[in-house]
């Protein structure tokens, strides 16, 4: 595929608002995880919560979109001059030539969970202030971004669980290449809700400690929340940072467990390298999906080691942010870009002793290294896999 320029980007998570605190955490390998105090949740687990989300004001004209998930988008879009950069680009291209593709797994379902506590005792009806379309519905995550940025081109919410926002990049790249659009806002937004907290608890996949990807004692995930956004345009100049390749596959194995030999993961990585026209040895760092569950890390390790052997440094950044689910693809795209900009791969927060059974070159400590190309993995329920390659054009 033709490289796609990443002309602006921003990220907001438990590490802070915008790029500056994210970059500082990347350098210092700080974790934003803390014991779960969210809502009325009584689970023994840690979460990566965005500070102050309850107090984020929504634009008056879009007040009906008010919910935790759209507040995370609002907060994210307001950082780093991102909306202004989008506005400039849209003035150039025309708003109807601007696509919006947002990955989310649960959108604003928290709003429905809360509304179910306030049902009319006689009729069972939901409260009158509940706005299904603009909060609960999957598309609300994309519709809010499109309305907030006043864009008018093609738009969709991608919702393939934890690969959602990685796949949003792939979709945008195809539409740019087809000439359907001239610019795209791609993002990932997922926020804390009871469905995912109690859902992962039911699968016994929540750790009671901060998650420890690849650790010999790893015992599950920590859920995080985040919003991350990118402005994509065609024809990057030599030396600029771009999306170089995308690869997607399905496991065809199980609804919530990965293929034990990581076959789908391997297919996605190989497809991404093929699309980028790159050999495996041209990758300088792999940002793993690395959730910290015993089976996910083991399956991914087989796939990664099968392609890259033990020559390339790999690790997971989920110890810093937690697993941000549908936002993970965009969050880790951001870490991939930071690795290229900072010329170093990050450390792995939470991991103390790498599982000796895992064979890829997992680095607990970050390290300086010229990084021209990064492979980023995102895998989800339903056996959905997506790998992305980011790098400097022509490097």
């Amino acid at each position: 595929m033709k490289p796609v320029l990443l002309s602006a980007y921003t990220m907001t998570s438990c590490l802070g608002r915008g790029l500056a605190p994210t970059r500082a955490a990347f350098r210092a390998v700080t974790s934003g995880l803390a014991p779960c105090r969210f809502d009325t949740v009584d689970l023994d687990t840690w979460v990566g919560e965005i500070a102050g989300l309850d107090d984020v004001p929504m634009p008056a004209a879009l007040a009906r979109f008010d919910c935790r998930n759209n507040r995370a988008s609002e907060l994210g879009l307001s950082q780093d001059g991102f909306s202004e950069r989008v506005e400039e680009a849209a003035t150039r291209c025309g708003a109807n030539r601007a696509g919006v593709f947002v990955g989310t797994s649960t959108a604003g379902i928290l709003q429905t969970e809360l509304a179910y506590r306030r049902r009319d005792p006689a009729s069972g009806a939901l409260p009158a202030d509940f706005d299904y379309r603009r909060t609960h519905n999957t598309f609300s995550a994309a519709e809010y971004v499109r309305a907030r940025l006043a864009l008018a081109g093609p738009c969709a919410a991608m919702s393939t669980a934890c690969s959602s926002s990685a796949k949003a990049f792939a979709s945008a790249a195809r539409m740019l290449d087809a000439g359907l659009i001239d610019m795209a806002v791609v993002g990932g937004v997922d926020t804390l809700c009871l469905t995912t907290l109690y859902g992962f608890a039911s699968l016994q996949l929540l750790s009671s400690a901060p998650c420890r990807p690849y650790d010999v004692a790893r015992d599950g995930i920590s859920i995080g929340e985040a919003s991350a956004f990118f402005l994509l345009e065609r024809a990057p100049r030599e030396g600029s940072i771009a999306l170089l390749g995308t690869g997607e596959s399905s496991d065809a194995h199980h609804m919530s467990a990965p293929h034990p030999e990581g076959l789908g993961a391997r297919r996605a990585m190989e497809a991404a390298l093929r699309a980028a026209g790159l050999a495996p040895d041209s990758i300088d760092y792999v940002n793993l999906h690395g959730t910290g569950t015993p089976s996910n890390d083991a399956a991914e390790d087989i796939a990664v080691h099968g392609i890259l052997g033990d020559a390339v440094p790999v690790n997971s950044t989920k110890g810093m942010t937690g697993h941000t689910l549908g936002a993970a693809g965009a969050v880790e795209a951001m870490f991939s870009v930071l690795a290229i900009e900072e010329e170093r791969f990050p450390g792995s927060a939470g991991t103390r002793a790498v599982d000796p059974k895992l064979r890829a070159r997992y680095e607990i400590r970050g390290g300086g290294r010229a990084i021209a190309r990064v492979l980023s993995n995102s895998f989800g329920f339903g056996g959905s896999n997506c790998s992305l390659v980011f790098g400097r054009v022509g490097a």
């Binding site: 379902i109 969970e113 290449d177 359907l180 608890a201 039911s202 609804m255 339903g382």
Partner: protein
């Protein structure tokens, strides 16, 4: 821009529309359309355990998808898939929200993994063994249009891989139904292939054009089109049923329609 594809096969499950071969006469205007409740098929293609777990949206989307793949004469294993749905599985989400509002929040693992928007895609992989890419997207009432764009841009990007577009919606139970009334289950599947690689099936081209979506002549079909997001496909299905050239303008976003030309 122009995106092209051949429609090699069609699958359909909807009120009064049980399978493409039977529905076709009605959609072509040769027989009168009569709305009767959708018949929800069992998911025969799934192993017994998954079959029991599969909700309505999984069953209708699998049935439509398999019908279209069979009509195309292609093995479902080799098709990329684009699922498009406004809602996902409404009965499942209702059950989860009820439990989370109660004193016992221990939802079942099956309920949880069925709650993802891409649950039909996961079951599709298990049923067919397909390891091809599978999308799952949502665009509220524009979901079918978004699915068409996604599927056709996939074919342009990788002409060697035919793509199955499956758009579906199923009703919510109360109280969610009152906030998003969808009267019945509807699933449509189009097996699409690149004109560079395929020689049979109607040739369709996506073009910019119409400003308003087509309104169907038959008032009952028009009511169906308006009532269910996946049924916004009906102008295209009517065009494909008629066996001659023409255009269909599909609902997408305000001020943005999608026109499909059949040649």
């Amino acid at each position: 821009m122009s995106l092209e594809a051949r429609v090699e096969g069609i699958g359909l499950v909807g009120p009064g529309l049980a399978g493409w071969s039977r529905a076709r006469e009605m959609l072509a205007g040769f027989a009168r359309y009569k709305s009767t409740p959708s018949v929800i098929p069992t998911a025969e293609a799934l192993p017994a355990v998954e079959r029991r777990r599969a909700g309505k949206s999984v069953r209708i989307s699998l049935a439509a998808g398999l019908e279209a793949a069979a009509a195309a004469g292609r093995s479902a294993r080799n098709l990329g898939v684009v699922f498009a749905s406004s809602t996902g599985d409404g009965e499942n989400v209702h059950a989860i929200c009820e439990m989370l509002a109660s004193s016992d929040r221990l939802i079942s693992p099956t309920r949880f993994h069925n709650s993802v928007h891409n649950a039909p895609s996961g079951y599709w992989g298990i049923a067919t063994g397909s390891q091809c890419s599978a999308d799952s997207l949502a665009a509220y009432d524009a979901s079918f249009g978004a699915g068409v764009l996604e599927a056709m841009s996939r074919i342009r990007a990788r002409p060697e891989e035919p793509v199955l577009l499956i758009a579906y919606d199923a009703p919510y139970p109360e109280p969610l139904n009152a906030t998003r009334p969808i009267p019945d289950a509807f699933a449509v599947a189009l097996a699409l292939a690149s004109p560079e690689k395929a020689t049979r099936g109607a040739m369709i081209t996506l073009e910019s054009g119409g400003t308003e979506p087509d309104v169907l002549d038959d008032p009952e079909l028009e009511a169906l089109r308006r009532a269910i997001p996946a049924a916004r496909s009906l102008p295209l299905l009517c065009l494909l049923a008629r066996e001659h050239e023409g255009r269909a303008t599909l609902d997408y976003f305000e001020g943005l329609t999608l026109t499909v030309r059949r040649s």
